[in-house]
Symmetry: C2
Amino acid sequence: MEMRKPSRGRPRSFDEDAVLDAVMRAFWEHGYEGTSVATLEAATGLKAPSLYGAFGSKEVLYQTALERYASEHGTVLRPDGPAREAISEFLHEAADRFSENGLPPGCMVSTAALTLGTAQRGIATRPARMRSESLAGIEQRLQTAVTDGELPQGTDVAALARLFGAVIQGMSVQAIDGATRTDLRALATAAMDAWPR
Amino acid sequence: MEMRKPSRGRPRSFDEDAVLDAVMRAFWEHGYEGTSVATLEAATGLKAPSLYGAFGSKEVLYQTALERYASEHGTVLRPDGPAREAISEFLHEAADRFSENGLPPGCMVSTAALTLGTAQRGIATRPARMRSESLAGIEQRLQTAVTDGELPQGTDVAALARLFGAVIQGMSVQAIDGATRTDLRALATAAMDAWPR
DNA sequence: TCATTTCTGTAGTGTTCGCTAAATAATGTC
DNA sequence: GACATTATTTAGCGAACACTACAGAAATGA
């Protein structure tokens, strides 16, 4: 992270962190194309020049908000303990987060930038990479479980990882469609029945 | 369906069905907000007044294209035979369709209009209803399977239906991210292991 | 005090958005 | 051929888009 050393000049009249949080929620709920700069002005209480002075452009504002989402609202796979419990916790925690009160429903990464105009195609690469890395993380965890003997040899870990990733992505869609926390947790529980025996 | 009885006046210079197909593909790939009328002009070869004369507005054009997608590219649950086979075929057919060559990847309904600006929120109601009806269809099929004794009493059919719906929705996301047909079919196969025993 | 630096608000920039009025072209009917 | 009807083309509408030049405001350093 780069340090800012203003000390001179007029100080910021806003808390950059709080502003970024409001921006994140706006993009989370309405997506990149669905969020206009006017929307961001309304959400933050700032005028466009302040936003641009602090962040640069709508695109870097989006990417910054996306990183903030990942670090503050992302669900991570616990690296220790049995893989089965880790995956189960992972799914159930996602169910909780996707239906958390006071936040937009669903996952900002799972359903980010799936359909964009050709002019903004570059926006989608970072969210797509995040999804890809999430999938890779799950697969690696499962592969370790095979190595450790927790999962049988010959388990199709790539397919299983894709399945749990798809469950996350589908839960995000259903959360947006109004599924409750109870609905999503039951979904997660049902998904765990796909664990190999 | 209303009948058109032109017979007078200048005839259409285009095949309405082919134009609607091009429109559907554009919306399918780029979504509602990502597809501008200029995009539709380029995709169809028509000028805006012809599009508006034939269909009315961008919004009804989208809804019409969505209905066309559902009827021509939608996957339906086979109503006869064992529920388990029906669901398995359903998932595998979706895997095939979402990765079909010559068509946009993913499902136009699963990932439609998840994030929109507040001004266009009305666009999302029809796709959301389609997803809801799809979920209800799966659940009813599973409920019948319980009644018939194919599934054990006490099966959480709602959760199981949500799970298979989530698998579809997740496959759509992963297809957009570049998953191959083989990837998706393996995912579908892994999902079927969640079938109660 | 005064100059310098930085931020904020006003008021735009040019571009693209969805959409359409008006003129022209192509058909059927008389 | 004249006329009514419908389709296409040209040209452009007002609004919203992302973004910014500029002037004034608020801080520090000399």
